[in-house]
């Protein structure tokens, strides 16, 4: 019997109706590296949030299943409790205060104090800070990971890579640390820094601390892990021991869904590519936070359905957002021979290019207006529809709005009490339908749709996807769809572009193999 540190048994979690974890098991020994791999939305973050007792889990009804820590059943209900057990986390976004020094950050909320007259009366929180000891201990922690910086410099002035290591130093500095979770640590690092990080992780584990490593870089995962847990759609696909597989095998496990795409009936790519080019995208750069597009070049053909796939953070979402004018962009986009201006949504919309944003609750809906208004707004703004003229001023024409809205509600099967209801009370799927209805009422020639099925139930998913296909086939609308769900892209798209590191990695046919998709999405040439 080995020294089992952590065991998670049959972990389940649902947010509202959707089940995001469906009975996941994992086991971790002291001093071991366990990697979690899976597509976005596979449930990795949720699993780690459960382990860390995050508020987002606790406040939504907790989790199902059992967590064993050193053989004891524990119910982790707050980050503080997780820290007490000896679980640390190196976050993807830095949890560092830029105006503080390295020492102050490493010792955040674990400050060492000296007692004084007042603290003896009023308790330890009035104790004076012992800068000297804090400095010294920080130095020791920094030395452990070979980070050669002075403990008294401000963190804000450091490079991204160094910040990452300060985070690690903070975890190392905790005396009782037993397990550190690394959430995509190498995403922001240079190659040299990644190398250094991998060595550091090896050293940490050699000292007996266990590591959970979350990464999309399959080569790193293969090199580092003693054990790899593959998640897909909230389910445990397989647990692999070291040396059991290579990057290709891993990619297949991540992406594959046992659906045979090799003989789906689609339109032949050759024929699509012969059609007229409606939009030429050349060297498009979009600075969307967390989803940067670095140099995207692709042609969009008349009447096709083009898909953008890729992992989160690689920039697939930035393309449509950039073209729609929502984020600062550069490069060139020509639509029907004319250059599209950047940062000017109105000009783009006037050219009949529509956009359904992935940020449904953020910029997709007016939650306190009627469904009717939500559906008609864009057509009112761009095409001046739904107004009645009274001499020299115009007033809203509620009657024609109602007719149009009712028609859309019928067509998309939006479940609501009527067109006057506010969308805040609708389910995610019905909200999404309202967003799509708005873009359709404005009757665009080209429609960009981002993540149309994220977080919605299966019924609504099918309605939306079928509707988009029908729109394409019947009205000839060119559709560009960005999605994290490869399966749905492969069922409806004519061509699929894989976006990696802000660029088009390859353009594939829906019928190409699982491995090919998986490897390309992980940035490995197939």
């Amino acid at each position: 019997m080995q020294n089992v540190l952590l065991e998670m048994k049959q972990i389940e979690k649902e947010f509202g109706q959707t089940k995001v974890l469906k009975g996941v098991d994992l086991r971790l020994d002291a001093g071991e590296v366990l990697s979690l791999v899976g597509e976005n939305g596979a449930g990795k973050s949720t699993l780690m949030n459960i382990l860390f007792g995050m508020q987002s889990i606790v406040s939504t009804g907790g989790y199902g299943g059992e967590i064993l820590w050193e053989g004891q059943t524990v119910k982790i209900s707050s980050p503080a409790q997780a820290m007490e057990l000896g679980i640390g986390m190196v976050h993807q976004e830095f949890m560092l205060l830029p105006a503080y020094t390295v020492t102050e950050n490493v010792k955040l909320n674990r400050e060492i104090t000296k007692s004084n007259l007042i603290s003896r009366v009023l308790g330890p929180s009035m104790g004076t800070l012992d800068h000297k000891t804090m400095q010294q201990e920080t130095k020791e922690a920094l030395d452990k990971i070979h980070l050669n910086v002075k403990p008294d410099i401000q963190v804000g002035s450091m490079s991204v890579g160094f910040k990452q290591f300060v985070e690690i130093a903070r975890e190392i500095d905790k005396k009782n640390i037993r397990l550190i979770v690394f959430d995509e640590p190498t995403a922001v690092l240079t190659d040299v820094e990644s190398r250094w990080l991998m060595d550091t992780i090896k050293e940490i584990t050699a000292a007996g601390v266990a590591v959970i490593f979350i990464s999309h870089k399959l080569n790193e995962v293969i090199e580092l892990s003693d054990r790899i847990v593959v998640l897909r759609d909230g389910e445990l696909v397989q647990t692999l021991e070291r040396g059991e597989t290579d990057a290709t095998g891993l990619a297949r496990l991540m992406v594959g869904r046992n659906v045979d795409f090799s003989n789906i009936e689609g339109r032949p790519v050759e024929e699509i590519e012969k059609r007229e080019v409606v939009m030429e995208i050349r060297d498009l750069k979009v600075s969307m936070p967390g989803e940067k597009a670095k140099s995207v070049t692709i042609d969009i053909h008349e009447g096709e359905i083009l898909g953008f796939c890729g992992l989160a953070g690689q920039g697939k979402l930035a393309i449509s957002n950039g073209i729609a004018g929502l984020y600062p962009s550069s490069g060139e986009v020509r639509y029907k021979g004319e250059t599209l201006p950047f940062g000017n949504p109105l000009a783009v919309l006037k050219k009949k290019i529509g956009f359904v944003s992935e940020d449904r609750r953020g910029i997709g809906l007016l939650l306190d207006e009627s469904i009717r208004m939500n559906i008609c707004l864009l057509a009112m703004q761009i095409r001046n529809r739904f107004f009645r003229s009274f001499g020299f001023f115009k007033q809203v024409d509620t009657k024609s709005m109602k007719e149009t809205a009712d028609a859309m509600i019928q067509e998309l099967g939006i479940k609501c009490t009527g067109d006057a209801q506010h969308p805040s009370a609708l389910s995610g799927g019905n909200q999404q339908k309202v967003c799509i209805a708005r873009a359709v009422v404005f009757s665009p020639d080209v429609l960009f749709v981002s993540e149309p099925t994220r977080g919605i139930d299966i019924g609504a998913k099918k309605v939306i996807l079928d509707y988009l296909v029908r729109l394409n086939r019947e009205k000839g609308t060119t559709i560009v769809m960005t999605s994290s769900e490869l399966t749905e892209l492969r069922t409806m798209c004519d061509r699929i572009a894989v976006i990696y590191d802000g660029k088009v990695k390859a353009i594939l046919k829906p019928t190409d193999s699982d491995e090919k998709f998986g490897l390309l999405m992980s940035g490995i040439d197939a």
């Binding site: 940020d359 910029i363 009112m380 001023f393």
Partner: protein
Amino acid sequence: MKMKCRQFFEEFGVTRMIAVGFFLAIAIAVPVLHLNTLTLYSQALTRMAMNGVLVLTMVPIMVCGAGMNFALPIGIICGLIGGLISMNMNLQGFTGFFASILFSLPFSLVMGYLYGLLMNRVKGSEMMIATYVGFAVISAMCIVWLFVPIDNLVLRMQMGRGLRKDVVLTDFWAGILDDLCPVTIGGLTIPLGTFLFLFLMCFLVYLYMHSKTGIMMRAAGQNPGLAAANGINVDRMRIWGITLSTVLGAIGILVYAQSYGFMQFYESPKMMSFSAVAAVLLGGASNKRASIFNVIFGVMVFQGILTLSMPVANVLLPESNISDIVRMIISNGIILYALGKGSGKK
């Protein structure tokens, strides 16, 4: 049904319910305590009418997303300037009143525009900045009033220089709307003229809010991100809303003054915004939503309480100055409630 009731009460809010209940209680108490019911009710109606336009200023500015208009003093100052110019020219009656509105327009348009520009640069902290910009403008104007050149000696302070603190409007256009066509029903006097003017203003604002600009303004106020993505110029919409609110503020103070009988300069407009904000909130508005109904209902309840609580309290607790206390507690209580609710949603 039970759920719906509860939801309705939650929406309506405890503070608001207390206020409405309080209003009903004192409205009933007036006849019960054998006070001069008809006179008091008439007074209450007059105060509702005279404050109406000032409260109406909240509609465009809240709808366009710039929050409660704590900078109402800016609009008020523009109205005072307009009134001052017209009185300085010794214009009387309707000419004087409408000239005042006309003269105030260029000021309120320019000030509203500038104020809108400022608000666009300080998104997220509008309310606090509006309050103190309002205070600062008022105190700066105090100095201006001291030095403003005046030809009409009635306006000048008896001793020394500068404008009077309160100018009596009897010789100009006091009660010009109130007395336009007062309706008396069995001793209850309704200042129909002022009400008609208020309704006219409400109707114009209603039309505006249902035009394309109005709709887009609503979208911009509710969800700036969505508005931008749909090709709406959010900043411009906000400037429209703020300017409209400032113009209405200028008209509002003139309506107020004709009914009140005085034009008050110097520091008196300082706290007016709080009452107006409180009234619209009482009427059911929230940070980003305000309708004509909220205005009418709110001003009715709020001014009703203020007018009627004083005599009622005097019967129960002689010689106490409860009206002011009630105003302070209710108006600030409802604003705090709205602030808490507004932040809670995020």
